[in-house]
């Protein structure tokens, strides 16, 4: 590298403090940040993967009871929540596109919409949890699941102990997912603040991209949770 290149770099750094010294190019810095998030998402896949495996094992073992338990949760609310998260993923990519094309209003508006969709999702989840609480389907001392017919064999009743396993998995998996949503809302609050302060330009909007990756991952987890938990044995 010639002297003039080194001097040029220092001049840029005075204008753009986010360019870090140990990267040769802004592209490389951005790719490294994105790669770091993907590595983290790989660990998250394993995190949720273990729970999905536990679910699959017990569903295979106690399919009729799981069918009865699944029928008692609201599939319409679940489908609505799926649509809500899908819309939120769209607004995330729109926010990034807004940053890429220097459309500040679109970027900020999309970030706000993303967070609103996230809050709607959590609100619907709260409604579902309350329903389960009211019906005594929360695992523990007050759990009861007596005389609930098995969907494909209405003359047989589901085993309450097996149904309790379904609900334990339901609350743990959707609860962990909801926790990730809450963390995502925290991240996006910070992103919204930075966007509002004008920190993002077409050249630099890496935090948006990285935060977006996280949000899309949380969406993908729900894309699998919805059919597995809500739609086990719905046909009469």
């Amino acid at each position: 590298m010639s002297d003039s290149t080194v001097v040029g770099l220092h001049h840029e750094e005075q204008h753009r403090p986010e360019k870090l010294h140990h990267f040769a190019e802004p592209e490389q810095q951005r790719d490294a940040a994105s790669f770091g998030m993907w590595i983290f998402l790989a660990t998250e896949v394993m995190f949720f993967g273990g729970l999905f495996l536990a679910y699959l094992i017990y569903r295979r073992l106690y399919f009729p009871d799981f069918g009865a338990a699944s029928k008692s949760i609201n599939a319409t609310l679940g489908a609505t929540n799926t649509a809500v998260l899908i819309c939120s993923s769209l607004t995330v990519v729109l926010a990034i596109w807004g940053a890429q094309t220097a459309r500040r209003s679109l970027m900020i508006g999309s970030l706000v919409l993303t967070m609103l969709f996230g809050l709607v999702f959590l609100g619907i989840k709260g409604v579902e949890y309350k329903d389960k609480f009211d019906e005594h389907h929360v695992p523990g001392a007050s759990f009861s699941f007596d005389h609930v017919p098995i969907p494909s064999h209405p003359d047989q009743y589901a085993n309450p102990r097996h149904a309790e396993i379904f609900f334990a998995l339901y609350f743990i998996m959707t609860g962990l997912h909801a926790l990730h949503m809450v963390i995502g809302l925290g991240i996006f609050t910070w992103l919204l603040f930075m966007a509002w302060k004008g920190r993002f330009t077409p050249e630099y909007h890496t935090p948006l991209e990285v935060g977006g990756l996280y949000w899309h991952f949380v969406d993908i987890v729900w894309i699998y949770l919805f059919p597995l938990l809500y739609l086990i044995d719905r046909h009469p």
């Binding site: 394993m46 295979r60 399919f63 599939a75 769209l90 899309h216 993908i220 059919p227 809500y230």
Partner: protein, 109 residues
């Protein structure tokens, strides 16, 4: 990423969005139709396609050129696959929890 044409990303994003909503609707409706053992397969296939288009287009994997990144993503899916496939093969070939006749009636009726 800013090198790609400005108009096509928007069309792609909205196309993916519509596809995701359609997939959700089909999954929901198909659940109420009796397809036997194919209910789960249909639902999970649609879910996998949805996850794939989110990863490819929303998470920009489609335009990722770094081989290391592609390796990490493929390895992640691969390890998840091993986790589930080998564990289910284990449980699937164990003793049945109840007598075989009762188990067969429970599983395949």
């Amino acid at each position: 990423m800013a090198d790609h044409s400005k108009s096509s990303p928007l069309r792609t994003y909205f196309g993916v969005w519509i596809a995701l909503l359609v997939g959700t609707f089909v999954t929901y409706e198909a659940a109420f139709i009796d397809l036997g053992r194919y209910n789960a397969i249909v639902a999970l296939t649609i879910a996998t396609i949805k996850a794939l288009i989110v990863a490819l287009f929303f998470m920009h994997l489609r335009h990722a050129h770094e081989r290391l990144l592609k390796l990490v993503v493929i390895a992640t899916v691969f390890f998840l696959f091993i986790l589930i496939a080998l564990s289910m093969a284990d449980y699937g070939t164990r003793d049945m929890p109840v007598a075989p006749a009762a188990f067969a009636i429970l599983r395949w009726s």
